[in-house]
């Protein structure tokens, strides 16, 4: 459908293909490991090992294996990189095995905290008046754009980087904006995704808000008591579908819609009515020119906090009725800026495998929400269009619609 921009001009719209993807998360390294873990409903949450958590209520997180990350180190320069850079290098490395010649014109990546643990190392060294020898290295590798620049450099890419930091919605905002850039016809190829590495400051922050739980993460459950954090990186190669098809590229899926909204209710809490998430989902449907009935599965933001799940659940029930819903954060935790990107990859895999990923740790579904939760076990289903939600601090809400690959 042509789109009318602010000038009232009807613009033809390009279709947007996902031609390659790469992922590193607690579910595993790469698409194959991730799909296998989704099929077996793997619980990837484990006790935190990277820093002290004895004074925190929550003591667990979804963590990426350092052993795997370190296996990929290549020389002295790599050893200086932040874990977040190594995750981005691994994710982009997988993408490049599928599309070796993918040269983006623009890179749009979401994150919330960049190389935060290097900032912590620096502050702790200052505080104890010793160990500052490595401070120039920490400072140079701390900025949020660094892991993205590092990953690009590793593969000879020098595209300009827009790093979106819209809190927990960052990854979905990045994919959504990248989608709009390609759909407008102004760009042919955009690299997008998100990353975040677990850090003490952020972990303690969510704990101080009592947003994280000492128990299991149970999204949309009556007994839900909060989130657990996670980490990881995921990247998607977006390309004009017509040109991708013309060169014979493998089309993994199509991104068909994006919605963004801002909820001004509170810096950290959503409007209880669910109006913010609802507007984002409605805008995604409008952007895709499809109806709520066309959506077969929703990968919810589903943090398992009392307020998020109530607001999101209300909005989903009002808009979509009994569509299948799950939150894969139950398996891997909430990876913040990476969440939307990892969950977009989960949606790609769900479409390819015709699988509804599970909402594990479900015990007593919240009857007030009246949602059709894919409880505990993944299951086969015919799915053509899926919606992925991400909502964050600051009232940022983002939804993307992804469609199974079709021929043009």
């Amino acid at each position: 459908m042509p789109r009318i921009n602010g000038l009232g001009v009807k613009k033809p719209q390009a279709r947007v293909a996902v031609v390659a993807a790469g992922v590193v998360s607690p579910l595993g390294f790469g698409l194959s490991e991730t799909l296998a873990a989704l099929k077996t409903n793997k619980d990837c949450v484990s006790p935190v090992t990277a820093f002290e958590v004895t004074q925190c209520r929550c003591k667990t997180a979804g963590q990426v294996s350092d052993h795997h990350l370190n296996e990929q180190l290549d020389g002295r320069k790599d050893r200086r990189l932040h874990r977040a850079s190594r995750m981005m290098v691994a994710a982009l490395g997988e993408l490049r095995t599928q599309e070796r010649e993918f040269k983006p014109e623009l890179t749009i990546i979401g994150t919330t905290s960049g190389g935060m643990s290097f900032g912590q190392d620096y502050y702790r060294a200052l505080h104890r008046h010793c160990g500052l020898r490595r401070s120039p290295q920490w400072i140079a590798n701390y900025p949020p754009q660094k892991p993205v620049v590092d990953a690009q450099e590793a593969f000879g890419i020098s595209a300009p980087c827009q790093i979106i930091a819209n809190a927990c919605a960052s990854g979905t905002n990045a994919i959504g904006h990248a989608f709009e850039c390609v759909r407008s016809g102004n760009y042919q190829r955009v690299l997008t995704g998100g990353y975040d590495a677990l850090s003490e400051l952020v972990f303690v922050g969510f704990d101080s808000l009592q947003a994280s739980t000492p128990e299991k993460c149970r999204p949309f459950d009556r007994d839900r008591s909060g989130m657990v954090l996670g980490e990881g990186a995921a990247v998607l190669a977006l390309e004009n579908l017509e040109s991708a098809s013309a060169r014979g590229a493998r089309i993994m899926a199509e991104i068909i819609g994006y919605g963004i909204s801002t909820d001004n209710y509170h810096l950290t809490q959503p409007d209880p009515s669910g109006s913010g998430p609802r507007r984002a989902m409605e805008r995604a449907l409008l952007s895709a020119d499809c109806s709520a009935d066309d959506v077969d599965y929703i990968n919810a933001h589903g943090t398992a906090t009392i307020f998020n799940d109530a607001a999101e659940g209300e909005a989903i029930r009002e808009l979509f009725g009994q569509v299948s819903v799950s939150s894969t954060k139950s398996m891997i935790g909430h990876s913040l800026g990476a969440a939307g990107a990892i969950e977009a990859v989960v949606c790609l895999l769900a479409l390819q495998a015709q699988l509804l990923p599970a909402n594990i740790n479900s015990r007593n579904p919240d009857e007030n929400l009246k949602l059709n939760i894919v409880g505990n076990e993944s299951r086969a289903a015919k799915i053509d269009i899926v919606l992925s939600n991400s909502f964050g601090f600051g009232g940022t809400n983002a939804s993307v619609l992804i469609q199974k690959a079709t021929t043009i």
């Binding site: 505080h127 754009q145 969510f206």
Partner: protein, 368 residues
């Protein structure tokens, strides 16, 4: 698509208000550095600070009650830009306006306080009031709440280039979305921790002046404040082109990317508002300008205003727009081959060039 500047606002160490800061720059005034002490190792640094009284007339909005300086600077600059735009082009439908924030170091004061409590007394001392203010998009969220914006709001992070990348994003949004305008805001707050970090990274000097285009470079002085530009389809200054540039892996490569951007944006009759700040950036820009635009009149506002990182490219853009409007550039003092008194510029075009400290380079061109 015609992309124009409809309104501007800035909060700087030389004051607040478009005309008053511009007049001071034209007079050759430089901000006065204030000492900042590191309470841990008792080192002394200097920074250019925004005078407290410049924010006294901010609206009494609940969101600003606990907000950090970075959010308050941003709100002041953003509201000033909107006020100027309303005067210039009439009422703006805020539901058809997007917000794009350019952030570099973010809310470093609250982040440091939050983590200091954790380091000193353990996780149980962490403040749930401070943590939300440490998030990069807190300033954008506060301004969105003050203005009642319910649509697109993005915060993008990067080095000193981030303001130009924000302008690029705004340009893409205006092209794709049913929007009339996009408010871009760059903001930064100064703190001893940042001074110490930049000093350890060997790009900061302890006392002014910032000596531009000196070889070897002696370092920059950090500053704080915010700049805001309302991009729309009406307005007196046109954004001709935005080059989002690329990333350099070493300093020689920085110069080459700057050269490529200049080549793309170059015009015979333009002036250049550079990002030279007393660091390696100066050499990268000077080398590129010698190759591509050897006759151009060059100005960098950083000797007068300091290096405000997240706000810096927006300040440069405002300087370029003001130069085009008033047909003059402020003086460049003690700046090697670019030293000169204030000059008239009549070409009608200006290039804003930005080379960041963390590998990013970009530029844009304005005209009237």
């Amino acid at each position: 698509m015609s992309l124009r500047i409809a309104g501007m606002g800035w909060v700087t160490p030389l004051g607040r208000g478009l005309n008053s800061v511009w007049e001071r720059l034209i007079r050759g005034d430089e901000a006065t550095a204030q000492p900042i002490s590191d309470p841990i190792s008792h080192r002394r640094y200097c920074a250019f600070r925004v005078p407290d009284e410049k924010l006294k007339d901010l609206p009494l909005h609940p969101r600003l009650r606990r907000a950090s300086a970075i959010s308050r600077f941003a709100a002041a600059a953003g509201l000033d830009a909107l006020a100027q735009a309303r005067f210039a082009i009439g009422e703006i439908d805020l539901q058809r306006m997007a917000l794009v924030f350019a952030i570099s170091n973010g809310g470093v004061i609250y982040t440091k306080r939050f983590y200091h409590d954790v380091v000193e007394s353990g996780a149980q001392s962490a403040s749930p009031l401070l943590f939300p203010e440490t998030v990069f998009n807190a300033p954008a969220s506060h301004l969105a709440a003050i203005l009642g914006i319910e649509g697109a709001s993005y915060t993008i992070v990067g080095d000193g280039v981030v303001g130009i990348l924000a302008a690029k994003m705004a340009s893409d949004l205006l092209d794709n979305e049913p929007l009339d305008a996009c408010l871009i805001v760059g903001t930064e707050e100064a703190d001893w921790l940042l001074c110490d970090a930049y000093h350890k990274w060997r790009v900061l000097k302890k006392e002014p002046p910032i000596e531009l285009f000196h070889n070897p470079p002696h370092g920059m002085i950090l500053s704080e404040g915010a700049g805001a530009v309302l991009l729309a389809r009406k307005g007196s200054t046109q954004v001709d082109a935005i080059d989002p540039g690329g990333n350099f892996s070493n300093r020689r490569e920085a110069s080459e990317i700057v050269r490529r951007i200049l080549h793309h944006l170059a015009v015979d009759d333009g002036c250049v508002v550079a990002s030279a700040n007393g660091t390696f950036v100066d050499l990268a820009e000077a080398t590129a300008m010698e190759k591509e635009l050897p006759q151009s009149v060059v100005y960098s506002p950083k000797r007068a205003l300091g290096e405000s990182v997240g706000a810096s490219a927006i300040w440069q853009t405002i300087v370029a727009a003001e130069a085009l409007q008033t047909k003059q550039l402020p003086p460049m003092l003690d700046s090697g081959p670019y030293t000169r008194p204030g000059v008239d510029v009549s070409g009608g075009r200006a290039i804003v060039l930005s080379c960041g400290l963390n590998q990013q380079v970009a530029g844009l061109r304005l005209s009237i």
